[in-house]
Symmetry: C2
Subunit: 229 residues, 2 copies
DNA sequence: TGCCGAAAAGTCATCTAACAACTTTGTTGA
DNA sequence: TCAACAAAGTTGTTAGATGACTTTTCGGCA
């Protein structure tokens, strides 16, 4: 086994064995090097790997710590990379997004609070009123986030955030017929919101699935330009 | 911005900009250091991060390459870390697993081939016949894998694999009443298989959801021991 | 000519040593 | 008691040298 792998598994085991729990501080690098039998360079490479995966966290001048170990943080680490997937491999993800958005919408319909509902309605009103594509995109994202949040499952919310971060890069509304598409999209949003307001999970689920399927179809059909961001 | 971050974003951008595509080789480390303006140590830390995330791949003596950039590989990188999540943060994941297994089972019922069906039935027969908990666990995993595979969405299959890798660490069948639990579990599997054989997506979906919910309930109730693996 | 093996070049892997940058702790002095 | 400063501790970065593995090149031989 290579030195970096040794260090990686050693660090990982310190957490899985329960020797270190969430938020706790690792020994300094020099001690870890002795214990794991690798040089500082190799150890640091292993630390970076776990840090990229959202498991640990280095603070300059202070130390290296176990993260909070929340599922949503670990899933969120995917957002660093989903943007690199080619469009071809993306359609499977849309199938997942459709299923998960439908579930989140259904849960939201069952659980949403009055304040969250008011926020959601405010976003959708703003979205319908504007012609600015940037503002519309932003409201779109926040609208879906609000629903996922109301669903009450942070892990699901993180996963949907990852999928959406990829979809958002495709600027459907910038297409020649973008205004027409936005109008249809607004109708889809409104159907979801109405179902949630009516506290009807089945209707919310169906509306959300239809909305995602629609976006998916546009993506396949027009293959819109990628945003620079 | 720190040196490692510079290198990380530089490498990432080489891919997102299209300068390098899947399977293509990066320039040697020395050139990358010059171009990105960082030392070799920092560059290597950035490379390790992207490699942990499944985006690039270093081959000793040969070079550093962009990965195949398949969604399933990038999602699969989570399996390195989900095992570290505390049990408390795991129940949200079971909700997701329930939804996704249900979808996969429905898709399998709609799409499965005769050969895949035969394999699935072989696994379930073997599982029902044995008392060996290790063999049963292995068949259990492969049974669910076969269904996910038959569902035809590699991304979904990878995601379910991640969730299952975590569940499998809990050895429900090792509990005092493990034999009883296994019998119930076998019935759940049989219900899923029957629905798939009958090409009935709705029934398959319901059976799969029920099965996952059952496992979830056992986990909450008994909090079984973690495997050492 | 064609092929095989050895040598050479190219590349990543690892280690050591040193210094820089930042944070935390301890101490001093008013 | 508190503020400012000093010291110690820790991670961040760089440089150079050596090892290990892969690929290419080239010479020898049938």
């Amino acid at each position: 086994m290579s030195a970096v792998d040794d260090a990686f598994h050693g660090l990982r085991q310190m957490i899985s064995s329960g020797r270190l729990v969430a938020e706790q501080k690792f020994p300094p690098e020099s001690e870890l090097c002795d214990e794991l039998g690798v040089s500082r360079g190799s150890l640091r490479e292993a630390v970076r790997m776990l840090s990229a995966l959202g498991v640990i966290e280095s603070r300059h001048g202070s130390g290296t710590y176990v993260s909070q170990l929340r599922a949503e943080d670990i899933i969120g680490s995917l957002s660093l990379t989903v943007g690199l997937l080619p469009l071809s491999g993306l359609l499977d993800m849309y199938e997942l997004r459709r299923v998960l958005e439908a579930h989140a919408a259904a849960q939201a319909a069952a659980r949403i609070t009055d304040e969250a509902e008011a926020e959601m309605l405010g976003l959708i009103a703003q979205m319908e009123a504007t012609d600015d594509t940037d503002l519309a995109s932003s409201c779109d994202a926040r609208f879906h986030e609000a629903i996922a949040h109301a669903g009450g499952n942070p892990t699901l919310m993180a996963l949907l955030g990852v999928f959406r971060s990829r979809s958002r890069a495709y600027q459907v509304f910038e297409l020649p017929n973008g205004a027409e598409l936005k109008r249809i999209s607004d109708l889809g949003h409104r159907a979801i919101a109405d179902a949630i307001v009516a506290r009807d999970p089945a209707a919310a689920s169906a509306a959300a699935a239809a909305h995602v399927a629609q976006t998916d179809a546009w993506l396949r059909l027009y293959q819109p330009p990628l945003s620079e961001k």
